[in-house]
């Protein structure tokens, strides 16, 4: 749920990075954090296990300048990808204005992608949202690895809505900002409607 504050002229939106375990959600946020002017962003919080797997969420506030005199502020969250943490995923999804689904391009992670996508649909539904209408962007990550699924196949499997999709190597930053820009665009155009 966007929060529009007329007195401070601020619009706050929540973006959630979703996807199977180890697909690169946290890496996306870390890259954005590294490459953004410190004045534009707040602290990045990672609630992770001892082996750096996300336990609850990563969080990063991002200021994106003004639009029509309103300051745009985005709160970026990731969910824990591991199947075990479904209860936490559900909680984080609540109030999301838009979702980035990060898919792992490796052949042997295709099932995990599909499971996570179904799980996204179910968890959105529990909050009364609909995967068919919520602002959504797809990112096909790890394009630099061997043994990857062709983009056309990923498109066929995941992009039934024909939303913006991007090839990415998040660890090198490739596709990270394109993805972010696209979801911001989707959210703003949704606010417009």
């Amino acid at each position: 749920m966007s929060f529009i504050n007329y007195s401070t002229k601020e619009i706050n939106c929540k973006i959630v990075y979703y996807g199977p375990g180890l697909c690169g959600k946290t890496t996306n946020l870390q890259y954005i954090y590294q490459k953004t002017d410190p004045k534009m962003r707040g602290k990045m919080i990672s609630l992770a296990t001892e082996v750096e797997r996300t336990l609850f969420f990563d969080f990063m506030p991002l200021k994106l300048g003004t639009i029509k005199g309103f300051k745009l502020r985005f709160h970026l969250y990731t969910v824990p990808g591991q199947i075990f943490y479904d209860a936490s995923r559900k909680l984080i999804l609540k109030g999301a204005d838009g979702v980035v689904f990060v898919a792992d391009s490796q052949v042997d992670r295709m099932d995990a992608n599909l499971d996570s996508f179904d799980n996204l649909r179910d968890n959105l539904q529990e909050h009364g949202y609909d995967l068919d209408t919520i602002p959504l962007v797809l990112q096909y990550n790890k394009r630099d690895l061997p043994n990857i699924v062709p983009v056309s196949e990923l498109e066929k499997a995941l992009n039934y809505r024909n939303v913006p999709s991007f090839e990415a190597v998040a660890i090198k930053g490739i596709g990270v900002f394109d993805t972010l820009k696209a979801i911001v665009k989707e959210i703003i155009f949704k606010l417009k409607k």
């Binding site: 929060f3 504050n5 109030g95 703003i188």
Partner: protein, 162 residues
């Protein structure tokens, strides 16, 4: 997606701030915040500059959400009060109307009992203001801001980001 927006007018913001400052003074606490359940700061009392509000909001919202999940598991509707006790500073967290979170940070210069008592009174007053906020939400004046935004405006937002 129903209930996509939450508006806050100048007048309401001032009234809410007044309540939070009153609570801060009457309970002798260090800082008071009002958040929505997603962790966005709606308003705060005086003397809050030293706090990283975004982080505070996100962590408290996560905290409240996790506790709410626990409540459901036990068949409770919610746990409406959370209290974290530190060596020097303590946090008292109260759910209001299932949608908002009142946060009081205090130290040894007051007591949990006094904070709890004052919070109760403040919540009664805040509830009236929250209802007003809900009324305002019904007026559809968002069109004015977004109606003529185009792709170029959004491209501009990202200049200098990379």
């Amino acid at each position: 997606m129903d209930n996509f927006y939450l508006y806050l007018s100048d007048e309401l913001k001032n009234e809410i701030e007044l309540e939070l400052n009153r609570l801060k003074e009457e309970s002798n606490s260090k800082a008071v915040f009002l958040l929505d359940k997603n962790g966005q700061i709606i308003s705060n009392s005086k003397n809050t500059d030293e706090y990283d509000k975004d982080s505070l909001g996100a962590l408290i919202a996560g905290n409240v959400a996790a506790t709410g999940g626990l409540a459901k598991l036990l068949g409770e509707k919610e746990f409406s009060i959370l209290f974290h006790e530190g060596e020097n500073e303590h946090i008292h967290i109260n759910l209001i109307d299932k949608k908002f979170i009142l946060v009081v940070i205090f130290d040894e210069s007051t007591s949990l009992g006094l904070v709890r008592l004052r919070v109760k009174k403040t919540i009664a007053n805040l509830l009236k203001l929250i209802n007003k906020m809900k009324e305002n939400n019904k007026s559809e004046n968002l069109e004015d801001i977004f109606s003529d935004i185009n792709e170029e405006d959004i491209e501009k937002l990202f200049k200098g980001e990379k």
